[in-house]
Amino acid sequence: MEIDAKMVEYVAELAKLRLSEPEKAAMQQDLTKVLQYMDVLNQLDTADVPPLTHVSGVENVFREDEAKPSFGREKILQNAIAVEDGCFKVPQTVE
């Protein structure tokens, strides 16, 4: 799989990364090299193999919906970029 400059920009947009021009060029080269190597997997016939997403065999894990003490508001906000009235303050999201 050859990755072109357009694909690098598209994936960066999905990943919310802003890449400089030199970063884009290096990323294009690195991803192409790594993905071309990964094409080795196509040597394997996996048509009838179910995908293994999880190794523990655990299915859904349920618990009772009980109210329990949480961390204090102050603790949760201690790393925030900005706080107002005990809430995270974020830039305007809706016009």
Binding site: V8, A15, R18, M27, D30, M38, L44, K75, N79, P91
Partner: protein, 486 residues
Amino acid sequence: MREKTAKELRAALKAGETSAAALAECYLAKIAAEDAAYHAYNTINERAAAEAAAVDKRLADGLDSPLAGVPVAIKDNIATETMPTTCSSKILQGFMSPYNATVIEKLAAAGAVLLGKTNMDEFAMGSTTETSCTGVTKNPWDTAKVPGGSSGGSAAAVAAGLAPVALGSDTGGSIRQPCAYCGLTGMKPTYGAVSRYGLLAYGSSLDQIGPIAHTAADCAAVLQVIAGYDEKDSTSAKDVRFDFAAALTGDIAGKKIGLPKNYLGEGLDAEIRAAILAAAEQFAALGAEIEEFEMPMLEYAVPAYYIIASAEASSNLSRYDGIKYGYHPEGFADLEDLYLSARSEGFGPEVKRRIMLGTFALSSGYYDAYYQKALKVRALIRQNFDAAFAKYDAIISPVAPTTAPRLGESLSDPLAMYLSDIYTVAVNLVGIPAISLPCGFDAAGMPIGMQLLGAMWSDDKLIDLAHAYQLHTDWHEKSPARKEAE
């Protein structure tokens, strides 16, 4: 002189020859004097002396556990409430977790004393600890070489005598490979054996916390404390019942160990091949039955692993948005600009590369060809391990194709670095336990490691195999020459 093990420190504490406070003071003084040469630690626990004094009171009241009064170093991706947890990333500089990881709570309950947080590859993505934003860690055996990664700080701390034992995390070899490079014993437990609550996520279906120590017996001591079900981690297993104390028999007569011939072929250093074969002979001398066999699919593990790990990383690391915690950019025009600035300025090059790779593998149009394909290959790899463990109690394998490379040699070619993980990543893909332990030295005097792989939940039996080997060999008792000369 070799370093003291946790087991020996426990014996000294029990005999009243030392105290938790004296031990903490001794290690903290050594860190202050010597860590500048290695940079094993990101943060030193300023409360260690006070915490050790409190443990001494509990010891006087009869506290007994495998780690009571024993100092422990913690990899900097395990959440601690009273020390920063940074993953050696700019995006988490100064981050204070609102809670302790379950393993930290368990260590505290057992009376272990935390010395500090150790350096690592940024977000555990790397094999050398060179992708850390706080600077590289150096290998105590040769400070011109890497300690391995991603748990390189934990390994360097134990190898240099700056902690008797440490916690690391292993997503694709991040405990086992630094142990091999630093002459240590370390274990990646069965997936689900140790709670991951409070382990900052990289690849959630692969990550597991485990011990880094001098001996298999110390790995058992640490696991005895940290393993077990945790309702806060829905992937932790309900019925973890290891009895490590009873398991350490040293009697391995009749155990069947498989030696995969194709793991010893092209690409593996001749000195490592010779060391593995010699170790197999040692196991045979101890009464184990060694059988050569072919372990298929070796060459498919690395590509499958890097697709899955990167895909999970791209999802896990989407939480770093610059708002709730982490690096805050100076100025930004709007919300989108805030996200972009925080992530682009906060993540280093290797983390960005894996986020990009993973985002691509999960993107519409490529999901089936890459991510889904990798999961199917993962199923095939598991079938092969299941077949092998139907025949063998353990598989003996190299950990890495070479001994520790020189600093600065690895990062320029990401693919070559990924390929060096060829012997370790399959273990995480299938969830099985594996223990890495020293089995020789190369001509330059650098440690060589081997690993023993076992079936799911055979952790205690694997530790006993390693323990038996260590009862009859002394590779694990060697310390870096720099200190022997002192």
